[in-house]
Symmetry: C2
Subunit: 247 residues, 2 copies
DNA sequence: GTCAACACTTTGTCCTGACAAAGTGCAAGG
DNA sequence: CCTTGCACTTTGTCAGGACAAAGTGTTGAC
C-alpha cells in the first residue's frame, strides 16, 4: 500500500545548502540509482515530511523541484509517481565547444577574423542594443577530430565582456561568458538548412552545393541582458542538433 | 523610491481560480500592456501582499510564476525587476499544422500511407515500448499555400490513441492528441540536414540534391508515456525551426 | 579622501496550522 | 447487476510569523 520505501536520508541543518534542496538532491540520487522503482509511488508527502523531520511546505518544495525537472508526476487524490527515466533530461544551454569536449572529440578553433566594431543594424536589433554599439565581432572555423565542422560568426557587446583573441582560440565562447559571470540563461534560435556556397564549401572541406545546417541565435543572461549573437554554419554530414522541449 | 506603481487589482475569492494565479495573471497583463515600466522595479513583496490583501506566500508564488516564465527577475536585497519583453516567450510544444494554421498559411494534408502494424525495432525503441507493439503508422505530405512543404512519417501506439484516416486528413496530429487528453508535455528532437533523394525531391516539388531539414522526434505526455514518434522532412527553402531555450 | 563597519531594505528559507478539491474504492440502494 | 453516494486518501491552496542572507548606502575612523 505504501508503494515506495525511502532509505535513510541524512539532512544537515547547519549546512548553507537549503533543506528543500538537500531533500530534493537525495531523492534524485535514489531515483537515478534505481533504488526507487520506476513507475512506483512515493509515500504521501505528509508522512514523508514527518519521517524526514521537515515541514510539509519544505517537503512539497523538494518534490516540486523534481516535478519541474520531469522526474516526478503528482496527481491530486492519487499520489506522486516516478517517471520513466528516458523522458527526463534537462534542457542545457550549451555551446558547440562544450558538447564536443564532453564527447571527447577534441575541438580546435581557427580564428579567421577578430575585430571591435560598431554593430551592424541587424545585429544591433537582434541584441536589442542601440545601433552603433561597440561589439567584438569574430569568425571562427571549428574543427573536431581534425576535420572542419562549422563556420561561426559571433558578436558580443564589449561592455558585456571584453574578449581577447587568445582566449577564444583556446576556450569556448560560452565557457568564457560563464567564467565572467555573464551566464546565458535564455536563447532564441532559428535552425534551417541550405546549400553551401563555393567559399563556404572550400572552408568546410566539402563540395559546392553540399547541404549545411544554419543556426542563428541570440542569448540573454538572467537579467535579460543580451550577451551574444551568433550566426553559425554546420556541415550537415557531421552535425545535428539534439534538443529536449518541455511545454 | 518605490519604483513601480501597481493600479487597482480586483481579486475574486469566491472564484475557483487560485488566488496566486489571479494575482500573477493580473500582473502579467499590466506588464504586457506596458503599464508597468520595463526595467522598472516592482514594489517589495511584503507591501505588495499587504496592499492586495493576500499573504506573503501567495504573493511570492504569483511572482515566482512570472519569474519562471522569464518576465521578472528577483535579486535578494535588491528587488524584483521587469525583464525586457524580447526575452520572454514560453517554449511551445506545437506541431507544424498548428504553426501553419496560426500564421494563416492554410495547411492541407495528403495521406500517402495509413496502416496499423507492429512497430519496427528502432521505432519501438524510440517509443520505449516492447517490440511488436501495435502502432498506427502513416505518411503524410503537408502543403502550405498550395505548395508541398514536408513529408511526415509518424507512429502512434494504438492503445494511446486509435486514429482514423479521415481525422488526420483534416486535423493536425497534436490537435487530435490534445483532444483525446494525451497532451504532449515533453519531446526529444534531433534536427539535421541532408540532400533530398530523387523520390523525395519529386514529392516536394524540388530538384534532386536540394537541401532538406530532417527532424525526428519522440513525444511524451505528463505521465511519461510515449505518445508519438515522428520522422519528418522539410523543404529547407521554405521552412526553418524557431525555438526558445531556457536553462 | 578612502576604506571599513554598521544599519537598512529586500528576498530566501522554514515552520505550524487549516481547509478545499480531486481521485479511489466500497457499500447501499435501485 | 449497475449506479449513486459517501468516506478516505492525497495533493492543492492559503494564512501568519520568524529568522537568515545578500545587496545598498551611509556614517565614522583614519
Amino acid at each position: 500500500m505504501t508503494g515506495g520505501f525511502l532509505p535513510e536520508v541524512a539532512l544537515d541543518r547547519t549546512s548553507p545548502v537549503p533543506l528543500y534542496f538537500q531533500v530534493a538532491t537525495r531523492l534524485q540520487q535514489l531515483i537515478e540509482d534505481g533504488e526507487m522503482p520506476v513507475g512506483g509511488r512515493l509515500e504521501n508527502e505528509v508522512d514523508l515530511a514527518t519521517r524526514l523531520g521537515v515541514s510539509r511546505p519544505t517537503m512539497r518544495r523538494a518534490i516540486q523541484y523534481l516535478v519541474e525537472r520531469g522526474m516526478l508526476v503528482r496527481k491530486r487524490g492519487v499520489g506522486t509517481q516516478i517517471v520513466h527515466p528516458k523522458v527526463r533530461r534537462p534542457v542545457e544551454l550549451s555551446s558547440l565547444y562544450d558538447d564536443l569536449a564532453k564527447s571527447g572529440q577534441e575541438p580546435r578553433t581557427e580564428m579567421r577574423l577578430f575585430e571591435i566594431r560598431p554593430a551592424p543594424d541587424h545585429i544591433a536589433e537582434a541584441l536589442g542594443v542601440p545601433e552603433g554599439t561597440e561589439v567584438t565581432w569574430f569568425e571562427r572555423l571549428r574543427y573536431a577530430g581534425g576535420e572542419p565542422l562549422a563556420i561561426m560568426h559571433n558578436a558580443v557587446p564589449v561592455d558585456v565582456l571584453p574578449l581577447r583573441r587568445e582566449d577564444l582560440e583556446q576556450h569556448g565562447l560560452y565557457e568564457l561568458l560563464r567564467a565572467a559571470g555573464r551566464i546565458p540563461r535564455m536563447a532564441n534560435q532559428v535552425v534551417g538548412a541550405r546549400a553551401a556556397t563555393t567559399a563556404e564549401a572550400r572552408m568546410l572541406g566539402d563540395s559546392r552545393g553540399a547541404p549545411v545546417l544554419t543556426m542563428t541565435r541570440t542569448a540573454w543572461d538572467e537579467s535579460g541582458r543580451a550577451v551574444e549573437y551568433g550566426s553559425h554554419l554546420y556541415r550537415a554530414s557531421r552535425y545535428s542538433f539534439e534538443l529536449t522541449l518541455t511545454s
